[in-house]
């Protein structure tokens, strides 16, 4: 009934049924033993002991680092419960452990989170982003890779390179998001551009211009926003190691960079552009190569970021395709499973605590537990 992690299965038929455990959970809750929560709210300290428990994200952190990373439902529930709690799960603790152990003088390590639909990849990514944020990393977050492929409002031919396509509005939006996420850190770091960027005959950014000014220019002159994004990313990845700030590049649905868009080709209206033709995607792809150091690249491999006919399997090699897989090779794959029984039970206890489960007859376990 719970298509869950296999390691949790004891001798079949002899364990307590989920319903019995659930009833006990309700009783234990009534006795105020809150075994589903942990008071450890610092992700840096999350280990396997906290697995299955909910930790509360402080509101300021939630607003700064989790404004766009979670599902719509989670935001609504966070609003309703008047708190934002995430469950500590193994993929996240594993990743945090790797980040703590990694050697940052070496080229960046790519981590890929993969799993079935709804298993918790984005949420784990958000958890890790929280960790990186609290550790003072600079965070570059692409909330949904397929966003540029499917939902762009305005597509212009690229200013810089013919054949490519700019998405000025989306680029400006992303820059605002990036700036807001890393506001304090950016002012503190005060990065200065180390290359000259010529926008047009009259406008350019000289060497030594503050990055903030460059971004301001991009937001003011939206026409150049996509190229500004490219410049910003380039500067960040080149200066991360020398300047000593860690950078996290987090992309949810990274496989979208190698799929097709819904933008028709000018000359042949039956064909559609590949994602690689988008300048924003081009810049992000450069960021997720391992030719820079003092940072980490974490991507989520989500079949739903692909086109409809490429969603048969959730495994990375299939979802990324040959090109994408080679781009990201080598990487560390991290499997994100569905809830185990323990996690499901914990989740239910949390819901009872927050009064989400209202039906007085809910002592019977239903197939809803599968999710």
């Amino acid at each position: 009934m719970c298509s869950a992690a296999r390691e949790d299965r004891a001798t079949p038929g002899t364990r307590e049924s989920l319903a019995q455990q659930f009833s006990k959970a309700i009783d234990s809750h009534h006795q105020r033993r809150q075994i589903f929560r942990t008071t450890e709210n610092d992700p840096a300290n999350h280990t396997e002991h906290h697995e299955g428990m909910f930790y509360t994200v402080p509101p300021e952190h939630f607003h700064q680092w989790m404004r766009k990373g979670l599902t719509v439902n989670m935001y609504r529930m966070a609003n309703a419960f008047n708190e934002s709690s995430l469950m500590v799960r193994r993929p996240a603790t594993e990743l945090i452990g790797y980040l703590q152990m990694a050697e940052y003088t070496m080229p960046v390590i790519r981590y890929l989170l993969y799993g079935e639909y709804g298993s918790g990849k984005s949420t784990s990514l958000a958890h890790v982003m929280h960790y990186c944020g609290t550790q003072g990393w600079l965070i570059l977050h692409v909330p949904w890779g397929a966003f540029f492929n499917r939902y762009s409002r305005d597509v212009q031919p690229s200013v810089y390179r013919p054949g490519r396509l700019d998405q000025p509005l989306e680029a400006a939006e992303w820059m605002t998001y990036f700036r807001q996420m890393n506001e304090s850190l950016l002012t503190q770091l005060n990065i200065k551009v180390q290359h000259k960027y010529v926008w047009n005959k009259r406008e350019s950014a000289e060497v030594g211009t503050p990055l903030a000014e460059v971004m301001e220019f991009g937001l003011a002159r939206v026409k150049y926003a996509a190229d500004v994004v490219g410049a910003v990313l380039k500067e960040i990845r080149l200066q991360a190691a020398p300047q000593g700030f860690k950078v996290l590049m987090a992309v949810d649905g990274v496989n979208a960079f190698w799929s097709t868009t819904n933008i028709k080709v000018e000359d042949d209206r039956t064909k559609r552009h590949n994602a690689g033709n988008l300048s924003l995607v081009h810049h992000f792809k450069k960021m997720i190569r391992s030719d820079w150091s003092n940072g980490a690249v974490i991507g989520t491999v989500d079949a739903y970021a692909n086109d409809e006919d490429q969603r048969e399997s959730y495994l990375p090699r299939y979802v990324l395709g040959k090109e994408g897989f080679e781009w990201l090779d080598p990487h560390i794959p991290i499997y994100v499973p569905n809830y185990s029984e323990k996690e499901a039970l914990s989740c239910l206890q949390y819901y009872i605590d927050r009064k989400w489960l209202q039906n007085p007859k809910c002592k019977v376990a239903l197939s809803r537990l599968q999710k």
Binding site: M1, S3, R9, P12, G13, L18, A365, S367
Partner: protein, 401 residues
């Protein structure tokens, strides 16, 4: 005379039971007069002035010809019956010899088994399959002579066409009136009925059976009237007084609980008990294997339940039997299903699952499952489109002109 006879008959049909006896005599008398008297006055013509006696004799001759024909038919039927019975007996002995049994002690059950063996048939309707039964059971019974040599019918209700039926109706009505009278008396004395007539577990005979009993083919409308009347009789507070009469016209239903045979569990190599079953719903066919000592895993066509049935409605359907018997986390289910749509497939799996679950639970639980509607094959199918209409029920736009 005929006219008066006809009038008498009409009034006979409409009068109440107590007045019927007087009607009867009137009718009998008029019929008798027709038989014995001469022709009607309209028959007389100026040319012919027939004698009373010779005309009556002519009529008697005509009637007796009809009677003769009837007698002939009855005789040939009797002869036919004896022939059939003789053939049946010989055939029985031959069959016994074919089967290698003793011809003398070869009974009807043995004949049935032999025919089923020698002439297997897959036809659904058991009555359409080859049968060999005693002619008295196969050939419909005929009534005995309904009128005498003079052509006068014996039954006073002969000319209704269904004399036994109408007699039964009259009898029943008479009983009902008697019960009402009885009730009035009891009410006057302030006495209530001692007991109640319980009709649970029985049903009124269907029109065929009633027809066999009365040796008449009863039309649908008349049968409905019969059932209505009997219902009224049975519903009367004092109907227990006429229990024997009522029970003649009821057939007993078997307790549904014991009807189906439940197959025993099978055992796999690893010691797990399992049961397989099939189910159909609309156009979907499902095959389900339920295994003991499981964790409550349900797989459909190799994929998990959640992936195969994203809709909560379908999943609830499939999980219903397991939750009902309380074995959700003890049994594993492997299902294969093809055809139909989502809800049809879910229904097919549910039925197959319920059928298989019968072997895992006790009889009481099986009965509960039956009451819950889990063990009934859902016979509903798509209704066909009719000519002259857009769909099964939808009509074309109605235009006034």
């Amino acid at each position: 005379m005929m006219h008066s006879a006809r009038c008498a008959l009409k009034s006979a049909a409409s009068c109440s039971y107590s007045q019927l006896s007087t009607c009867r005599t009137r009718v009998c008398r008029s019929l008798a007069s027709v038989a014995s008297d001469g022709p009607a006055k309209s028959d007389a013509t100026p040319k012919q002035t027939p004698q009373v006696g010779s005309a009556g004799h002519e009529r008697a001759e005509k009637i007796s010809k009809a009677m003769k024909a009837y007698l002939q038919r009855a005789q040939s039927h009797d002869k036919f019956m004896t022939n059939e019975i003789a053939e049946y007996e010989i055939g029985k002995r031959h069959l016994a010899n074919i089967m290698g049994e003793d011809p003398d002690s070869f009974r009807q059950e043995d004949i049935d088994k032999a025919i089923e063996y020698l002439l297997p048939s897959g036809l659904f309707d058991r009555k359409a399959r080859p049968q060999m039964k005693h002619p008295s059971q196969v050939i419909p019974k005929r009534k005995a002579a309904e009128f005498g040599v003079d052509g006068r019918p014996f039954h006073f209700l002969f000319y209704t066409g269904l004399p036994n039926y109408y007699q039964l109706m009259h009898e029943t009505n008479l009983k009902l009136e008697a019960l009402k009278h009885h009730e009035d008396k009891m009410l006057a004395r302030d006495v209530s009925p001692e007991t109640v007539l319980h009709l649970a577990g029985s049903q009124w005979l269907d029109s065929e059976k009633l027809g066999d009993m009365l040796r008449e083919k009863i039309p649908e409308r008349d049968f409905t009237q019969f059932v209505k009347l009997m219902d009224r009789l049975a519903a009367h507070p004092y109907s227990y007084l006429e229990k024997d009469f009522i029970m003649v016209y009821r057939r007993f239903l078997k307790s549904q609980a014991m009807l189906q045979e439940i197959p025993p569990l099978m055992y796999a190599d690893d010691g797990r008990a399992y049961m397989e079953a099939e189910g159909i719903r609309k156009r979907a066919h499902a095959k389900v294997k339920v295994m003991d000592k499981g964790t409550g895993e349900i797989n459909v066509n190799g994929r998990s339940l959640l992936r195969s049935f994203p809709t909560i409605l379908d999943r609830e359907q499939i999980v219903f039997p397991l939750q009902f018997v309380g074995k959700m986390s003890e049994l594993d289910v492997e299902a294969t299903v093809e055809g139909g749509g989502n809800s049809g497939q879910a229904g097919a799996i549910r039925f197959a699952l319920s059928s298989a679950l019968q072997s895992f639970v006790d009889r009481q639980m099986v009965e509960k499952m039956r009451l819950a509607g889990l063990l009934t094959q859902d016979p509903r199918r798509l209704e066909r489109q009719k000519p002259g209409q857009a769909g099964a029920r939808k009509k074309f736009t109605w235009k006034k002109r």
